[in-house]
């Protein structure tokens, strides 16, 4: 191993942007995660993929037979399955990211003491956060690609723009993962972890997932529009038919802001927890 002298190291630290928080080695956290997947249960991994597919088949095909055609984002009529499919993709991006960044992180933080070990090395809290979020996104990417393929097979894709749903669902996942990890750092018990489900389930049911927002009174609409999932649902729904409006930019902007705030929160919290 090369030995470094005090002087050059000082220079190096001064030139580094995040000082003691980041050592540009999130890659090591990522390769650890990939190595650990060898021992994970692949059936559990696959269940995350099948969940939205089963919803799509039961609601889209089953319920869709009664509902018939509905009005799409551009005003033209589309099948009910095509209407809810992008919403389900947004939900699965959210679920995967939240699961990875909350339950997984909670366990590693409090029980496996994994981060404690990592932070005794050259790694900083930001390396750990970025690495874990990247892994969550990698899983999200696989689910999104798989679900988009299923949509294609079911004949629900009518425009090449739909392929952009994959990067867009990564954007959604990134937003939820970064914020989720930050929030998890505050939680200490399993009971507190259940609060996360308490927020997620209503968000899933009421964020214009299965029917348009217009059925609600105005003040409920505002509340839902303030929540992140609605922006994800609308974004993917627009992309699925290739309709882009100024609202598209607002949806994307919402997630960019969420990512920035989430990363800031996560880094500050990890620093407080591990470098106190």
């Amino acid at each position: 191993m090369s030995t470094v002298t005090g002087h050059s190291v000082t220079e190096e630290a001064r030139n580094r942007r995040f000082g003691p928080l980041y050592s540009r080695n999130a890659q090591a956290v990522i390769s650890r995660g990939l190595m650990a997947t060898r021992s994970t249960n692949w059936l559990v991994m696959l269940s995350g993929f099948f969940e939205p597919v089963l919803f799509l088949i039961s609601m889209g095909v089953g319920l869709g037979a009664i509902v018939g055609a509905v009005q799409g984002p551009d005003g033209t009529e589309i099948s009910y399955a095509a209407y809810i499919a992008p919403a389900l993709l947004a939900v699965s991006a959210m679920n995967g990211a939240v699961y990875d960044s909350t339950w997984n992180v909670f366990f590693k933080m409090n029980f496996a003491k994994l981060y404690q070990g990592m932070l005794y090395t050259s790694l900083g809290p930001l390396d750990v956060a970025l690495g874990e979020i990247f892994l969550a996104l990698l899983r999200g990417l696989m689910y999104a690609a798989g679900f988009t393929a299923v949509m294609g097979l079911m004949g629900l894709i009518t425009t090449p723009w739909a392929i952009l749903m994959i990067p867009a669902s990564l954007l959604i996942a990134f937003g939820f993962a970064s914020l989720g990890m930050g929030i998890t750092s505050f939680l200490k018990t399993f009971q507190q972890m259940d609060w996360i489900n308490f927020i997620m389930l209503p968000m899933f049911l009421f964020s214009a997932t299965f029917y348009p927002l217009s059925v609600y009174p105005q003040y409920i609409q505002w509340l839902i529009q303030a929540m992140p999932l609605w922006h994800g649902v609308e974004l993917l729904r627009q992309i699925s038919v290739g309709v882009f409006t100024p609202a598209t930019a607002i949806h994307v902007g919402y997630y960019l802001l969420m990512i920035a705030l989430g990363m800031l929160l996560t880094t500050v919290r990890l620093r407080k927890l591990f470098l106190k």
């Binding site: 191993m1 994994l114 404690q116 005794y120 900083g124």
Partner: protein
């Protein structure tokens, strides 16, 4: 690595390693709210020394270790690890250290050898270096035949040895060991001491906390006795015993109720007397002579034992309390 040594001890500046100070602490303090965990301690450790922090639970040993290990920021005072301030140079300081925490935090999702490889990656070390290094360390930790085992299949002693092997992956100049043998059976402890001794012979600076006297006496060149965040005494084990205790100790047991009552009747024998709930300790230069005096006063203890003074006695003298309670 080309050479066989686990850690290369040649310093980059070409000076003999033993002369440089690797850790310097000056009036080091750490407070949590109103509680001072570490309350102004100063010490310095030269390269290659085996330095111990001895004290009961809650004395501030682990907090001091965490400050040295650049995972806890100090409240005030000065601290320098090989010339670097751990508060501002966390990653660089940690790259120079090997850490064996009080509780094993091995990666249970990875196999034994992978634990070493992945840990090395955290330091940004290349696989071409890590592969042979991992094999070498498995050999050192006597775990070669367990390379592909799962971590949770290892015994407590094996896990500890793996944790030590892992801490050596970056060829640290300083190894921090927090209670390295707590919870291990006697045989596992001796195996571990032997491994640590080899590291010491290779010039690694060892910093260890312990509340075991025999461990401190076995491993430490020099130690500080810490209680309530302060240094009570400093020196080599032999020096501390010489300064704060007598050569021998006579241990008498009169039965649990009578130990305290009989105390006054023993006054005047030896240099000093300590009546504990379970036994009476008489500090004397000649233990056998003291025992004869006890018998001549017509006192018949249930058991008697003459032994050499240990660090336990030093601690008792300095703080009025036992180390392990």
């Amino acid at each position: 690595m080309r050479n066989k040594a686990i850690v290369s001890s040649t310093p980059s500046d070409g000076l003999p390693a033993r002369q440089a100070t690797v850790i310097a602490a000056e009036d080091l303090r750490k407070t949590y709210g109103d509680v001072a965990a570490v309350d102004g301690i100063s010490f310095s450790v030269p390269a290659g020394e085996s330095f111990g922090l001895l004290g009961p639970n809650g004395a501030g040993k682990s907090t001091t270790m965490k400050m040295i290990g650049a995972v806890t920021q100090r409240t005030s005072g000065k601290l320098s690890i090989m010339g670097l301030d751990p508060d501002s140079h966390g990653p660089e300081v940690r790259a120079l250290l090997g850490v064996v925490p009080q509780q094993d935090n091995l990666d249970e999702e990875l196999r034994v050898r992978d634990n070493l490889l992945v840990y090395g990656r955290y330091f940004g070390l290349p696989m071409s270096y890590l592969r042979p290094k991992a094999d070498e360390l498995l050999e050192f930790a006597q775990l070669t035949d367990k390379a592909k085992s799962k971590v949770d299949a290892l015994s407590g002693g094996m896990k500890r040895r793996l944790t030590i092997a892992r801490s050596l992956i970056n060829e640290p100049r300083i190894l921090l060991l927090d209670e390295p043998t707590t919870g291990l059976d006697p045989q596992a402890r001796h195996t571990l001491w032997d491994r640590l001794f080899r590291l010491k012979e290779q010039g690694v600076t060892l910093i260890l906390t312990t509340h075991y006297m025999d461990e401190a006496e076995q491993l430490c060149d020099r130690l500080i006795v810490v209680d309530k965040g302060r240094i009570m005494a400093e020196g080599s084990p032999a020096q501390l015993i010489r300064e704060h205790s007598t050569r021998e100790v006579l241990e008498l047991r009169f039965g649990s109720e009578r130990n305290a009552i009989i105390g006054p009747e023993l006054q005047g024998i030896g240099e000093r007397l300590e009546a504990l709930p379970d036994r009476v300790l008489i500090y004397a230069h000649d233990g056998e002579a003291a025992l004869e005096q006890v018998s001549s006063r017509g006192l018949r203890p249930v058991t008697s034992l003459v032994r050499r003074s240990s660090l336990e006695d030093v601690f008792l003298r300095l703080t009025g309390r036992s180390l392990v309670d």
